[in-house]
């Protein structure tokens, strides 16, 4: 596509957006704006619906709970609605610009004297956004939890088009993409490793999370840097009305969250911690060698926000987490740290701005005991420091314009190994650092053309610049280093730049029916050197550069959305086709660890993915849940891998069926179940064998020509809420969970091994991780 044409077209559209209505008319309009909040705790509600009763004119609150809508002066009945909350109507007389902050009540609470609308929000149909999942923390909490740890990542893996990359893993694949193609953000800071305990738990502590949104396609222009998906996780701001404590004690960890106002309605905070505790019992064990072992993880989330005045608000939030396994012969530690400082500023009722400073760091170390000559310590880290500015402009009721810019400075330190023993055999071994700048510039508009037709169009310009000091190797066509170029510190020696158009269209036939279509191009410049399916915390992130081109994905999606029974039932059917260029895979037997010539292990090609996702959701206070089915196919063709022939991508799992159901038996008793069924992972199996130096060696099939047996699992949970005592603030709740309730021995790994008695006999052996895993958690609030 011609850049000039696109840019000109876009400018024209933007101009049209701003001044589409008659200038006189425009001058007469007044703006209604404000925030939508939770009545209990003052938390902002993200994506709440605001519309004029009986008309299709409306808007929704942004990620800071802010909304703005311009209307002609007059009298209106405004409806404010949000999933899981009682909708509220408000009669207003608009004569001049008006600020209206609206507080909504959670549905489970006793209704007070407010005007309510029985109708539930129809955002499934009306939102001009497809390939999108929004999860409420309340809903996540009801799902059966693995080992009692309620986990947003495990809940996301139950969505159509998303599946876990391996049993129990926090890694997930979205529409055939690999796990490093998912952008995961906590308060806008990239989280590079979302796993605790090799992936069995995620870094997100539910108690500190306010909102979770997943984009599988149709990715808004404000997001960039990853190909396949965006997971936008927002932390709570902290209760601005009263001091609250929540917590829980589970099999694995204990949690405690404190939140409350510092200055009422102006400043509030939240502090949330979680830590595993079974290592605290280690000193009680009789074995001396184990007493000083460590095995734990912890998370700490902290946030403080201050409303200076109506137009200015500040947020400072951070996450600190760490995993540690230490015994007498090895020591592994890893963790993320993120810091976000934000300033919300209203330039006018129509222009909302947010300025952000971001810091994110991921590091790990691996060490051996300190006394031996072969003792070593290996350290690695990566770090981001970013600046961002995002603007939302509400020129009139039918247009919402978003624009902004971001710049990041990335540092990658792949590894430094030092001998730690007194007479160490090791020389200092240092893999060179990489430095890069990454920029994004975007503009988009969501425009209502007629009552049923809305368009969304945007453009993102992304740029990636490699910066010295660095030495770039030159490879020949056999991937051997033939030469190298040294670049001095601060020198920008390579720049990639590209446009990412994003388009979306929605046509709503009526309140219950709509069609949506979208196209999005995404570019990715940073990837994970991960050759294994589930990966380990030691996998390295590495940047694009002269030897590694940016990955590019084009995704087309088409969907039909239908609600039934006054929006109690939401149905959707989406099909997508995705083409990815410069797909990275790794040569056979790639050496990924401590390899200064890592780029020589990479092979490039392309991949295709297509699929169909069906979703039926039932929303009722007593019974709710969903049934989803996905059919998908993902193929790669990369370099000489598989003799240059196409092969199934590692995350190609054609059939995926998920059933989730919650049943509120009584006021105090809730039952929950989920069942998942997925085709087995593609694998390479032996088709022949030979002997070499006493071992039987397999001759393998084509890459991924076989599949592991299909995967299925049922999880159950029962939640018992303690009796409410009116004079007591304390609320308690027991949760009993069964993971893999019928004990399905799902294959985690399939191995072909020599029989111990008869060395000429070979057998297939499957490894499974879990049978039934029961757990119990006690949660409290006061």
């Amino acid at each position: 596509m011609n850049l000039k044409v696109i840019l000109t077209g876009l400018c024209l559209l933007m101009a049209y957006a701003g001044w589409s209505s008659h200038p006189d008319e425009q001058a007469n309009k007044v703006t209604l704006s404000g925030h939508v909040r939770d009545q209990r705790n003052g938390e902002e509600l993200i994506g709440a619906n605001i519309y004029i009763k009986g008309k299709a004119i409306g808007t929704s609150s942004n990620v800071y709970g802010f909304y703005s809508i311009s209307l002609e002066p007059g009298t209106y009945t405004m409806v404010f609605s949000y999933i899981g909350y009682v909708a509220r109507e408000k009669d207003i007389t608009l004569e001049q610009d008006l600020t209206l902050n609206m507080e909504l009540q959670p549905r489970e609470q006793e209704l007070e004297e407010v005007v309510v609308t029985a109708e539930k929000p129809n955002q499934n149909v009306s939102r001009n956004q497809m390939s999108f999942e929004k999860l409420s923390v309340k809903q996540i909490r009801k799902l059966p939890a693995f080992m009692g740890e309620v986990d947003i990542i495990k809940s996301i893996q139950l969505m159509p088009g998303v599946h876990s990359i391996s049993e129990g893993s926090s890694g997930y694949s979205v529409r055939g993409g690999s796990q490093d193609q998912n952008l995961v953000m906590l308060d806008e800071a990239t989280v590079y490793n979302i796993s605790h305990f090799m992936g069995f738990f995620s870094v997100f502590n539910n108690d500190a999370i306010q909102n979770v949104e997943l984009y599988k396609g149709d990715i808004p222009a404000r997001y960039g840097t990853r190909l396949s998906s965006v997971l936008d996780v927002r932390m709570k701001n902290g209760n601005s009305k009263e001091f609250r404590a929540t917590g829980g004690i589970g099999n694995i960890s204990s949690r405690l969250t404190l939140e409350g106002p510092i200055v009422k309605k102006k400043t509030s905070f939240i502090l949330s911690g979680r830590r595993t505790y079974f290592d605290l019992f280690l000193p009680l064990l009789p074995e001396e060698n184990i007493q000083d072992n460590s095995i734990f993880f912890y998370d700490l989330n902290a946030k403080i926000n201050h409303r200076m005045n109506k137009n200015n608000r500040f947020f400072l939030s951070g996450y600190f987490g760490r995993d540690r396994f230490k015994n007498n012969f090895s020591d592994i530690g890893y963790g993320n740290r993120t810091l976000t400082f934000r300033w919300n500023h209203l330039f006018s009722e129509k222009i909302f701005a947010n300025f952000t400073l971001l810091h994110s760091k991921y590091n790990y170390h691996l060490a051996s005991p300190e006394e031996a000559a072969w003792s070593y310590r290996w350290d690695s880290h990566l770090m981001d420091n970013c600046l961002k500015a995002d603007f939302t402009w509400y020129p009139n009721a039918s247009n919402t314009v978003e624009f902004g810019a971001s710049s990041c400075y990335h540092t990658y330190d792949p590894g430094l190994i030092k001998g730690t023993g007194e007479e160490s055999i090791y020389s200092r071994f240092d893999l060179a650092n990489n430095y890069a700048l990454e920029h994004g510039l975007y503009i988009s508009n969501e425009q209502e053309i007629t009552a049923g037709l809305t368009l969304k169009y945007g453009l993102r310009l992304s740029a990636f610049q490699n910066m010295g000091k660095d030495t770039v190797f030159h490879y020949n066509d056999r991937y051997e280093v033939v030469d190298s170029t040294a670049h001095r510190s601060g020198e920008i020696y390579n720049t990639y730049m590209g446009l990412e158009p994003r388009l979306g269209i929605k046509y709503q036939f009526d309140r219950q029916n709509s069609m949506k279509a979208s196209y999005s191009r995404t570019r990715q410049h940073v990837q994970l050197a991960q050759n294994t399916r589930a990966g380990t915390p030691l996998d390295l992130w590495f940047p694009a550069g002269p030897n590694v081109k940016p990955q590019i994905a084009d995704q087309f999606a088409l969907g039909y959305f239908r609600n039934l029974f006054t929006n109690k039932v939401e149905l959707s059917l989406e099909g997508y086709y995705k083409k990815m260029q410069h797909t990275i895979d790794f040569k056979d037997h790639a050496n990924m660890l401590l390899n200064p010539k890592l780029e020589g292990e990479l092979r490039f090609g392309q991949s295709h993915s297509y699929g169909l996702e069906l979703m039926a959701r039932y929303k009722d206070e007593k019974i709710n849940g969903w049934l989803s089915y996905t059919y998908s196919k993902t193929t790669r063709t990369v370099g000489a891998i598989n003799d240059g022939n196409p092969y199934r991508a590692p995350f190609d799992r054609p059939h995926n069926l998920t059933l989730v159901a919650n049943y509120q038996l009584t006021q105090r008793l809730a039952l929950s179940a989920n069942w998942v069924y997925t085709s087995g992972q593609p694998v390479t199996f032996p088709i022949g064998r030979y002997e070499s130096e006493g071992k039987i060696v397999p001759v393998y099939s084509d890459r991924n020509a076989y599949r592991l047996p299909d995967y299925h699992r049922l999880d159950l949970s029962l939640t018992i809420h303690a009796k409410d005592k009116p004079d007591q603030k304390w609320e308690g709740e027991w949760n009993f969970s069964l993971y893999n309730a019928y004990g399905q021995k799902n294959t985690w790994a399939m191995n072909f091994v020599q029989d111990e008695q008869d060395p000429y006999k070979t057998v297939a052996e499957k490894t499974y991780l879990f049978s039934v895993v029961p757990s119990v958690t006690y949660n409290f609030k006061f």
Partner: protein, 293 residues
């Protein structure tokens, strides 16, 4: 050493997998065409060196490999003779020895593995690399993590030469080779300690849980250090990975093991040439030196 460290990390990592279990299952596998398998070596020892020729078989064939007989096998210009009692085993004369720095060419003819009536030609090349100056050896009894693993470690003192080196360590007890399969070899490249003095590093081990490896007073323990090529080093890594178990955390996709044999239709196996140096010690007290980790 690298392998031992890695094994321990793996043990630590899998220790947290609650109740991982294995069981035998039946799997249907396809067949593939027959390939020539070459397993041959030349060392600096003066002995009958060998080249073994066999055929690939179905994975679940559950019997010894079929030998390939009647082939013409040459190393440089020396013709190997097929053993009278063991078909498919071709040997040099007993006074043959390899020389450090020399390159050896293997050629194989008069083999018709694809049974099309025409014989194929196969060949391979390997060079004998030098080896570090080894000074001394110590036997240290070690226990890991309160006795999960108990073993005698052989700790080596040696000077690593300035060039890139690849080591292979084997262990003998009273003239019996204990490390008789390729997955028991310990290999090490000197990337992280090139040119340094190696002051007592565990390079092989004898496990207490294995009957034939238990060390008793009077035993003579011999460490065999081989100077191998980078290609053979990689072959061992690939082979031990592919012949061993895999799991989603640490294993990449399965792939065929490299070979340095060319010609014909996709031959497999390896022809290696390497240098050998040995160092022995006589054990008085197996528990004289003890380390607990």
């Amino acid at each position: 050493m690298k392998k031992i460290t890695f094994r321990l990390i793996l043990a630590a990592a899998t220790a947290i997998l609650p109740g991982a279990c294995t069981e035998q299952v039946s799997v249907d596998l396809d067949s593939t065409y027959t390939r020539l398998v070459v397993d041959g070596q030349i060392t600096t020892d003066t002995t009958r060196h060998y080249v073994k020729l066999t055929q690939t078989m179905d994975y679940f064939s559950n019997q010894p490999a079929q030998p390939v007989t009647g082939a013409k096998v040459m190393i440089n210009d020396h013709r190997l003779r097929e053993n009278d009692t063991i078909p498919g085993l071709y040997q040099t004369d007993p006074d043959f020895f390899g020389v450090i720095g020399r390159t050896y060419h293997l050629s194989i003819d008069r083999v018709d593995i694809d049974a099309d009536g025409h014989s194929e030609h196969y060949q391979a090349t390997s060079r004998i690399n030098s080896i570090a100056r080894v000074d001394s050896l110590e036997l240290v009894y070690q226990e890991f993590a309160g006795g999960i693993m108990k073993m005698w470690g052989l700790e080596l003192f040696a000077q690593d030469p300035p060039e890139e080196n690849y080591y292979l360590f084997k262990v003998h007890k009273n003239d019996t080779l204990l490390t008789d399969t390729i997955d028991e070899y310990v290999i090490q490249e000197d990337m992280t300690f090139n040119g340094n003095y190696v002051p007592g590093v565990m390079v092989q081990s004898l496990e207490k849980s294995k009957k034939d490896e238990v060390v008793r007073p009077g035993d003579v323990i011999t460490l065999e250090a081989n100077g191998i090529t980078q290609e053979y080093y990689k072959y061992i890594i690939e082979l031990t990975n592919e012949a061993g178990p895999s799991n989603p955390l640490f294993s990449g996709p399965r792939a065929n093991v490299r070979t340095n044999i060319s010609g014909g239709n996709g031959p497999v196996g390896f022809f290696r040439a390497y240098s050998i140096t040995r160092l022995s010690l006589r054990v008085d007290d197996p528990y004289e030196k003890v380390k607990k980790w």
